[in-house]
C-alpha cells in the first residue's frame, strides 16, 4: 500500500516536472523568435528605403539634404557590426526618417500628392512595425521571466539552468529626448 502511494506521488511529480520544463522551453523559443523578428522588421526597412526615396525625389526637390541623410543613415545601418553599433545606427536612421516624416506633415501641397501620401503611410507603418516587434519581444520575454520566477515552476527553472531574458532597452540616452525637427528649406 505504502509502495503504491510512493509510486503514484513519484509519477505525479515526474509529470509536473515534465509539463513545467516543456512550457519553459516553449517560452524560451518564443522569446528567441521574438528577438529575431525585430531584425526582420529592420531589414524590411533597409530594403524599402531606396525605393521610397526614389519615388519622392522628384516631388521633394527642396529636401535633398534630408533625403541624402536618410540614404546615408540606411547604408551605415546595413554595414554596422556588433549589437551595440547596429542599435546605434538604427537609431540614427529612425531619426533621419522622423525628419523626413515631419517635413511631409508640414507641407500641405506635398501631403496631397499621391506618391508622397503613400510614402508617409509606408514610413509610419515601418516605424510602427519595428516598435511593435520590440513590444512583442518585451511582452514574451516578460512572460518567460515570470514563468521562471513563479513558485513552484522556479524549482524546475533553477534545476535546468534557465536564464532570465533581458528586455529591449534604449541604450542611447539621446533617444529619450524629444526630437527636434528643422523645417527650413535647404
Amino acid at each position: 500500500m505504502l509502495l503504491l502511494i510512493i509510486l503514484v506521488l513519484g509519477l505525479v511529480t515526474a509529470l509536473w516536472v515534465m509539463l513545467s520544463y516543456n512550457s519553459l522551453i516553449s517560452l524560451k523559443n518564443q522569446t528567441l523568435n521574438g528577438w529575431k523578428q525585430i531584425d526582420v522588421q529592420l531589414k524590411r526597412r533597409h530594403d524599402l528605403i531606396p525605393n521610397l526615396v526614389e519615388s519622392v525625389k522628384g516631388v521633394m526637390k527642396f529636401e535633398q539634404t534630408t533625403l541624402t541623410q536618410v540614404i546615408e543613415a540606411r547604408n551605415k545601418a546595413i554595414s554596422a557590426q556588433g549589437i551595440a553599433e547596429k542599435a546605434a545606427q538604427e537609431n540614427v536612421l529612425s531619426g533621419a526618417l522622423r525628419q523626413l516624416f515631419a517635413l511631409v506633415e508640414n507641407y500641405p501641397n506635398l501631403k496631397s500628392n499621391e506618391n508622397v501620401a503613400k510614402l508617409q503611410e509606408e514610413l509610419v507603418t515601418t516605424e510602427n512595425r519595428i516598435g511593435f516587434a520590440r513590444q512583442f519581444y518585451n511582452d514574451i520575454a516578460t512572460q518567460f521571466n515570470i514563468a521562471q520566477q513563479r513558485f513552484p515552476t522556479n524549482i524546475v527553472a533553477k534545476t535546468f539552468r534557465f536564464k532570465i531574458s533581458e528586455l529591449f532597452e534604449i541604450t542611447d540616452a539621446k533617444d529619450r529626448e524629444v526630437p527636434k525637427v528643422d523645417l527650413n528649406l535647404k
Binding site: 521574438g34 501620401a117 503613400k118 503611410e121 509610419v124 507603418t125 511593435f132 513590444q135 514574451i140
Partner: protein, 312 residues
C-alpha cells in the same frame, strides 16, 4: 482597474460563468436521465443531447467563417485604395504585436461603421470591416479596432462562444424533450418508502422549474459570457496598442452613427465590435436590456478604457 487587472478579472469570471453553466447543464441532463431515463449512472439522454448539439455546431465550427463572409458579401481588400491599404498595414502591425499570423482581410460595402472577426483559431481567422468604418476612423482608431478584433482571435473567443452555443443547444433539446415527456412519466429509478418518495418529488419539482427556465437562463448566461469577452477584447486590444483612449474614441465615433448595420445578421452579432442593431441597443441601459445584449453598453466600455488609461 488597469489593463492587466481587467484582463485577469475578465478571464477568471468567464471561467466561473462557464463552470456554473456546465453544472446547470449537467443538473438538467442528469435530472432528465434520472426521471425519464435509465438513471444518472447511464446518462443516455444527456449524451445524446450533447452529441446532437455538437453535430449541429460542427458545421458552424468548420465552415462558419465562410458562411458569414459570403452572407455579408465581403470582398478582398483593394490595396490601391489608400484607406484599405492603411487598414491592411494596421492589421499587419497588430499581428506583429500579438504574435499571431496575419488573418485574411475583407471589406463590406456598407456605410455603417462596424467590424467583425471570425475563424476557429488564429491560423484560420478572418477579419471583415465595413467601408463606413474605414471612412469614419483615423489611423489610431482603426488600429484600436484591429487590436480588438485580433484579441478576439487570440483569446479563442469564437471557439468559446461555439462551445457555449453547443451547451445552449443541448439545454434547449433537453428542455424540449422534457416538455414532451411530461405526461408520459411513469418510471422512477430507485426510491423505496415514503421518505424517499417525498424527496424525489421535491427534486422533480425543482428540476421541472429549472427545465422551464432553462432556455431563457441559458440565453442569459451565453450573453453574459459574450459581454465578458467583449470587455476582455477591449483590454487585450489596449494591451496590444498601449493606447486605450484610441479605442474609446473609436467607439464614441462609431456609436454616434445612427443606422444599424444591415449587412450583418443577428446570428453573427457577437462577433462584431458593436452590436449591429444600432445605436438604440448600444446606449440603452437597465437590467433587462443589459441581460440579453451581446455587447456591454458603450458608456461602460469607455469607462473601463478610461480606467486603463488612468483617467478615472
Amino acid at each position: 482597474m488597469n489593463i492587466y487587472g481587467q484582463i485577469t478579472t475578465n478571464r477568471r469570471s468567464t471561467w466561473l460563468v462557464v463552470i456554473i453553466f456546465v453544472i446547470f447543464f449537467l443538473f438538467i441532463g442528469f435530472g432528465f436521465d434520472y426521471f425519464y431515463g435509465a438513471g444518472y449512472k447511464a446518462p443516455i439522454f444527456t449524451a445524446i443531447a450533447i452529441i446532437l448539439a455538437t453535430v449541429a455546431s460542427l458545421g458552424s465550427y468548420l465552415y462558419g467563417d465562410k458562411f458569414i463572409l459570403s452572407s455579408t458579401h465581403a470582398v478582398g481588400l483593394d490595396l490601391n485604395d489608400p484607406k484599405e491599404a492603411q487598414w491592411r498595414n494596421v492589421i499587419e502591425e497588430m499581428s506583429i504585436a500579438a504574435g499571431i499570423p496575419v488573418p485574411r482581410t475583407y471589406v463590406i460595402d456598407d456605410p455603417d461603421p462596424n467590424a467583425f472577426a471570425t475563424g476557429r483559431d488564429p491560423k484560420h481567422a478572418s477579419i471583415a470591416v465595413t467601408k463606413g468604418l474605414l471612412d469614419t476612423l483615423d489611423r489610431d482608431e482603426l488600429q484600436a479596432v484591429a487590436a480588438h478584433e485580433m484579441s478576439h482571435i487570440k483569446n479563442f473567443d469564437i471557439r468559446l462562444m461555439l462551445m457555449v452555443a453547443v451547451m445552449v443547444g443541448s439545454v434547449a433539446l433537453l428542455a424540449d424533450w422534457a416538455s414532451r415527456g411530461l405526461f408520459r412519466r411513469d418510471r422512477r429509478s430507485g426510491g423505496s418508502g415514503k421518505g424517499e418518495g417525498a424527496i424525489a418529488l421535491v427534486a422533480l419539482v425543482i428540476w421541472l422549474i429549472a427545465v422551464m427556465l432553462a432556455p431563457i437562463l441559458s440565453q442569459i448566461i451565453a450573453m453574459l459570457v459574450s459581454r465578458k469577452r467583449e470587455y476582455l477584447a477591449d483590454a487585450s486590444g489596449a494591451e496590444l496598442t498601449r493606447n486605450p483612449m484610441a479605442l474609446a474614441s473609436a467607439l464614441k465615433k462609431i456609436s454616434s452613427r445612427v443606422e444599424p448595420t444591415r449587412s450583418i445578421s443577428q446570428g453573427t452579432a457577437h462577433l462584431c465590435i458593436i452590436d449591429p442593431k444600432g445605436v438604440s441597443v448600444n446606449s440603452k441601459e437597465g437590467r433587462v436590456a443589459d441581460l440579453f445584449a451581446t455587447h456591454p453598453p458603450i458608456r461602460k466600455r469607455v469607462e473601463a478604457l478610461e480606467q486603463m488609461a488612468y483617467i478615472k
